[in-house]
Symmetry: C3
Subunit: 146 residues, 3 copies
């Protein structure tokens, strides 16, 4: 996990059910000391990337609680029209959540540091119940001649 | 459609009503054989880009069914407050959908191949009922010296 | 506000409550006369970036009206489960809105002009009620040798 993106790399996350898994420091540790843009891209269709507040953990808890009500499990009475249900009641809702939340993020980098605001953290947002091994492609593009 | 992005290009899609139109192979065929990041940007405010599962077509069907319930036509009783209704009952809902789903995607590219996951396809998501001609700007930025 | 991104810069917006604040011309005026990709990244977790129609102001009005109903204030009866409520009834809903709408945008640039469609404008979407000073990081990455 400590080798720099040069300029490509991968961040992996082992998830243990729905929720937010912070990857900010994993990403920050691997940036080259240059100016440019970091692209993060999650290679799955049932989880997301997200930038949100990393100060009060209640923000993450409330966000998850809201998302689970916004897109409930497929067993919810509102979801009788769903057909893709063989992979479990959390699967099609996960695809829906992954459509509404980001699959890719583009973050400016100055002298090797992301221009994140004071309270911004980067998260892998898992939408499935079972543990999953998630892969995030990272690519750094320089905005200056070396 | 077969000329490489060098580094700019355009993908066009003729749509026939609301739904997902896959463009993965059109995009893949035009990538230069280099490392970098591909940016896709849809030049409209009533359709979207989306990366979602391209294995079971029921996922796309369920996603469209969900989106049509999430943001119903302007004739829905819940929408009495809308003012932008002159362009038809599908127009303002299309703007809302286009605000919630992606207008741009950033995809890492390694030796000319996108780092898509096994089940990920790239789609133009049309939110209007009538046929439309949609234009997607594509720009490749190299992450290595040539 | 008139110095070019070279290649980094910042757009700032002083907001006066919830709504859309157009920044298209501020951004356009600062692009270098080259080909590349512009990344915009908002350094906050309670406002968003958005590309939407800038022709009929009713589109922006309707979009705000819809968003305020989609994610109502924390005092709404549907929100009894929220815990992050100390910063006011508009704060946790602002975090939710900022999760669903874009934090970053990637826009292709040709000879110094963004490839925006005819009706596309770029907005800072403020989700808080009180005035805020918002910072958007901008980074231009060239796709051609100079």
């Amino acid at each position: 996990m400590t080798q720099p993106f040069a300029p490509h790399g991968e961040i992996t996350v082992s998830t243990r059910g729905q929720g937010l898994y912070e990857i900010t420091s994993d990403v920050a540790a691997r940036l080259p000391k240059r100016d440019g843009v970091l692209t993060l891209f999650v290679r799955h269709t049932s989880c997301s990337l997200l930038i949100q507040e990393n100060a009060d953990p209640d923000v993450q808890r409330d966000l998850l609680a809201w998302l689970q009500r916004f897109v409930p499990p497929a067993t919810d009475p509102s979801f009788t029209y769903l057909r893709h249900t063989l992979e479990g009641p959390d699967d099609m809702p996960a695809h829906i959540k992954a459509s509404v939340l980001p699959v890719s993020l583009s973050i400016p980098v100055l002298r090797g540091r992301m221009t994140l605001g004071t309270w911004q953290g980067i998260y892998l947002f898992e939408h499935r119940d079972a543990p999953h091994f998630r892969r995030i492609a990272a690519q750094f593009v320089s905005s200056t001649a070396d």
